[in-house]
Structure formats: C-alpha cells, structure tokens
Symmetry: C2
Subunit: 200 residues, 2 copies
C-alpha cells in the first residue's frame, strides 16, 4: 500500500507536477477530496512561512492528516528577490499569469540584468511534525513569452544551460530539472531513508 | 478551536450518541465526510480487535487522520458471553435489530438467568499511536421489547438499578449511565489530562 499524502494546495498545475514525478511511490490526494470549500490562507512574509502555514492549516482542519504543502516563487536579482513570495499576486489579487508576466516584463524592460531563480519550499506534515525541503533552479527572464506548457512565469523563464523556456518543455522534461522537482527529490529521499511511513 | 476527530463508524446511532455527549468539546466528523464508499472491515474475534481494526483502517486509508472507533457488544451470562462481538450480526449478516432481538429472546426463553452486560471498546488513533477506553454496564434481558429510543438491543436491556429499558430512556438519560458513555468519559478525561491535542 502506497503512503497516502494529501496535497495542501488548490493549484491544479502543482498537483499535476507532483503526481507526475512521484505518483508511482505515493497515493497523492487533494484537499478537494476533503471537501475544502475555502482558500487555504497564505499570509506569510516568506515562502517558508507560507509553505508551513498551508501544511499546518490542512493538518489543523482535518484531524492531523498527513499533508504536503508547496510554496514557490520567482526571485529576480535586479528586483532584489521580487516578486518572490508575491509571485502569484504580483499584478494584484486574483490576477492571471499573463498579468503577472506582463508586469514583470514591464518592470524589467531596459534592464541588462535578467538573472532570476525559481524556488520551491515544500513542507510535509506527518504525525504532528513538520519537515521542510527546498529546491531551486537558476536561469534568466526572456524579453517575451514563448511556449504554452506549464504555468505561472514558465513562458518567460529560461533555465541555466538551456535555450528553451520552461513553457517550451514537456512536463516530463521540466520535471527533470525544475525547482519543484528538486525539492520533491529531497522529499522522496528523506521519506525512503527515514521510513517515517513505516507501519502505517 | 475544538480538536477534530473523525468517527471511524458508519453507525448513525453511535455518531448521535457520541456527538450528544462530547460534541461541545470536540469537532466530531464522520467517514462520510471523507467520502468513504465501502464498509469498514471488522473481522476480529474480540471487541478490542474490531475496535482497533476500525481505527487502523481509517488511519491507514486517510493519511494517518485522527479517529475514534467504537466496537460494542451485549454479553449474556447464560450464553457465556454471546452474542458479544457478533451482536450486530447475531441473526445473520445485514439482519435487523428486530431479528437479532427475536433470536436472543428465543434462545433465552425459559432461562432464569437473564443477567447481561453491554460493553464498549473505544480506540483512538492519534499521530500513529492507539489508545483504548472501555466502558460497561450491567443489567438484565427483559422477556419482551419495550420502548422505541436507542438502537440494537436497547428495547430488551434493563440496566441495573432501573426498571426501564434503554429504549425507554431519552438519549440524555441513556448517556448518563450507558457503556458507550462510560467509555467516552474515560476518553474525555484522558484527552483533557494528557493534552495530546495541544499545539494542534
């Protein structure tokens, strides 16, 4: 029987990426299965705070259930790490990926320094304890969007060593190298090595 | 925020009794909230085994969620403890309370020894650990059914010191003295004293 883990996210793209990478090893379920009717709060000032807050919220509201939360962000060097924890709402609450990208390209227009990195902080809650896993990937911001896969800033982010944007890669290709995948590999190694799901 | 506990039972009567007694202190939810579509297995040979099996099944199938299972039975002295763990299926699988009571009255007809007791074994699963609480009440089996409250063998069971059957008592009256209520009081005392839900 595969360990059952509820994903403390309402982002279908994140759910797809996680299932694609580790669905063979874990029985990932979602907060939709739990009937969650409100948005999971994320009011932290850092990715780490938000990630922890999401895992804690689901654990607290669903009887200490085992869950995995993800908070991810794009940190642009010329913007001293912005949009960072505000990546998903850079152009305002409930704005679209397009609006966020448009704002970023506008802010960066004329800037020579296009260096950026994607960061993911995963927080696993299991039996009252919290475990944190980080993944990152360096790259740069393109001048315009290319590709239609992925989500978020994928169409304008080119990972170091490649010429394609994340949105021009297949999910399988992105999951070889991306920030979330790297954090998930650490999560996987920890769970397999420490066997915290044994006897469950 | 009240501690959230999922009840590892599909018996609406048990759910009602538990909520009536401790609903002020705990946020009891049910396996129906989790979308459980099959019957929780109970293949143990004792109430204790069944109670543990039910808690373990829900914990295993729903990401280690905190849950409370109940297995209860009627033990008749002249029948050396029968129907006991088979109380709910004494007249056969999926038979009714009426069929079970009719069989018991038939088997006991002519018997002078009507002594019996109700027993409840609760098993709490929380963060990978299991805690057991027992409650019992002595009484006797009447010659015929009286009353329409409660469920199971309530219409033919008269608790020691009373003349009414359980089915002639209100839920509040039954919850002052009955086996399940006694086990629940031990559960409540343990949780409040040991504060295992603190920080959750």
């Amino acid at each position: 029987m595969k360990p059952i883990i509820y994903l403390a996210t309402q982002n279908r793209h994140k759910i797809d990426e996680i299932k694609d990478l580790l669905g063979d090893l874990f029985d990932f379920r979602t907060v939709f299965d739990l009937g969650l009717a409100v948005e999971i709060p994320e009011t932290g000032k850092t990715l780490t705070e938000n990630s922890r807050q999401k895992a804690q919220y689901i654990a607290q509201n669903f009887g200490g259930i085992t869950c995995l939360a993800d908070d991810s962000g794009l940190e642009v060097e010329a913007l001293r790490g912005a949009p960072g924890v505000y990546s998903a709402r850079y152009a305002g609450e409930h704005k679209s990926d397009s609006a966020n990208m448009a704002k970023l390209l506008e802010v960066l227009s004329g800037s020579d320094n296009r260096q950026a990195r994607f960061v993911t902080i995963l927080t696993l809650h299991h039996q009252g304890k919290f475990y944190v896993f980080e993944g990152e990937i360096q790259g740069h911001i393109e001048a315009e969007q290319r590709g239609s896969n992925g989500f978020g800033y994928d169409p304008i982010f080119v990972p170091e060593g490649l010429t394609k944007t994340f949105a021009e890669l297949s999910l399988a290709e992105k999951n070889q190298i991306a920030h979330r995948a790297r954090a998930l590999q650490k999560f996987k190694k920890f769970v397999l090595d420490d066997q915290i799901f044994e006897g469950h």
